[in-house]
Amino acid sequence: MISSIMNNKMMTSGDKKTVMVVEDEPLNMRLTVDLLEMNGFNVLSCIDGSSAVETLKQAVPDLILLDINLPKMNGFEVRKKIREDSRLDKVKVIALSASVMREDEERVRAAGFDDFIPKPIDTKGLIKKIKDHLS
């Protein structure tokens, strides 16, 4: 298992960082994926919480953009699964959510996310934040 992860990492060319996007809304997924690719990231995309958890068994991205309101398994549950897997200790996890009330943000921060980004996203701001977290 470990070696396949290493391979996966090595296949990603040079110092390109890998960002996983977990998002169920197709247009929002397309937007984030295109934005990341335009800015030179490798992208792994998952359309719900449980497929994200499955994918994370095979691959270790550098950062995860995780929607909160997701079918099957919500963002909080995915965050918990990530925490239970020591291979993912160093992966940054950012919540990307359209629930932007103060209580929503507080819940996200309390759940141990590295950051909270409200939707609609500011495309330049999002890239800057991702770079800050990865530097």
């Binding site: 809304e25 247009l27 929002n28 937007l31 984030t32 295109d34 934005l35 335009m38 309101n69 359209a98 629930s99 932007v100 009330m101 409200p118 939707k119 609609p120 996203i121 500011d122 495309t123 330049k124």
Partner: protein, 375 residues
Amino acid sequence: MSGNGLKIEYSELVENANSIILRMDMKGNVTYFNRHAREFFGYKLEEILGKNVVGTIVAPTDTSGRDLKAMIDDMALHPSSYVNNENENMLRGGARVWIAWTNKTILDEDGRAKEILCIGNNITRLKQAEEEILKAKEAAESANKAKSSFLANMSHELRTPLNAIIGFSELMKEDGVGRLNEKQEEYIDYIHESGKHLLSLINDILDLSKVESGKMVLELGKFDLKALLEKSLVFVKEKAAKHGIALSTDIEEGIGAVKADERKVKQVVFNLLSNSMKFTPDGGKIGINARKAGDKEISVCVWDTGIGIDEKDRSKVFSEFEQIDSEYSRKYAGTGLGMPLSKKFVELHGGKMWFESEGKGKGARFCFTLPLNVG
């Protein structure tokens, strides 16, 4: 007047008083029932004397299920707990009424409780009104909850498509997408601006509803007001330059740290500046003044040489969704909620907001005060 004469006079008084007056023994059997009581409850004297109150004027349980028989039993044991007592009673036909009673224990020669003297007033209408008010209050609270959750859902649902509208229109202008012609670029800007405008509307509506439902909590902290005011000007600098508008500040020496909600104060100052920008024709002037007002307050004013406020428009300034029509009102410059929201933010801090204008064409001056020690 002889003692007997007095006695007769008092019994006439009791008999004819417009209150329910009755006596009962310690078992609850009626020993006296005045005229008003008979008329009110619908009994003749011979029909009620000697009868127990439970089953006649007191139903065994009231409409809410309270055990009134137990209450009458308890009254004999603990009369002092029932000196002033409100309870449901029953008319002869079965209709329920509410009576406010004063109950006085009458002692025999040995000092033992013999009877209870009860004087009652019909408070049925009062009780009904009270119940209606309670129901209305509950209905209002649940409507308010429904409104909050509706707004939260609306906000969430609108943000999802807005994410695509704002996001893709930003991506269209990225180099990787290819060059747009002039018209395409202009149209994309309109889509982007409109999306942003819609977003500000949603945010302002959420803020306003939070303030109105009393849920807006100030996040108080110390910050440098002078620095905040100077930084705010930077936001409008570019636009001011484009329109040949001169910006200036006049901030009194010694205005520094204040304790307030920085984000909200910033929003207020930004709203005032945007407002001045909107109504100041090219080549005008906009400025910020700040000074101490006494030992306890700071006053901040944003002034401009703009179109001013006509007498007839004065009442519209702090109203929701009101924007003063004007040839200078630049498109998409505001949501119509900025001013009322700013005023509410200031008031949450315990400050005041007002404006001064000598009329149309004479500029305007919007001021607010902030207490130096909030919270």
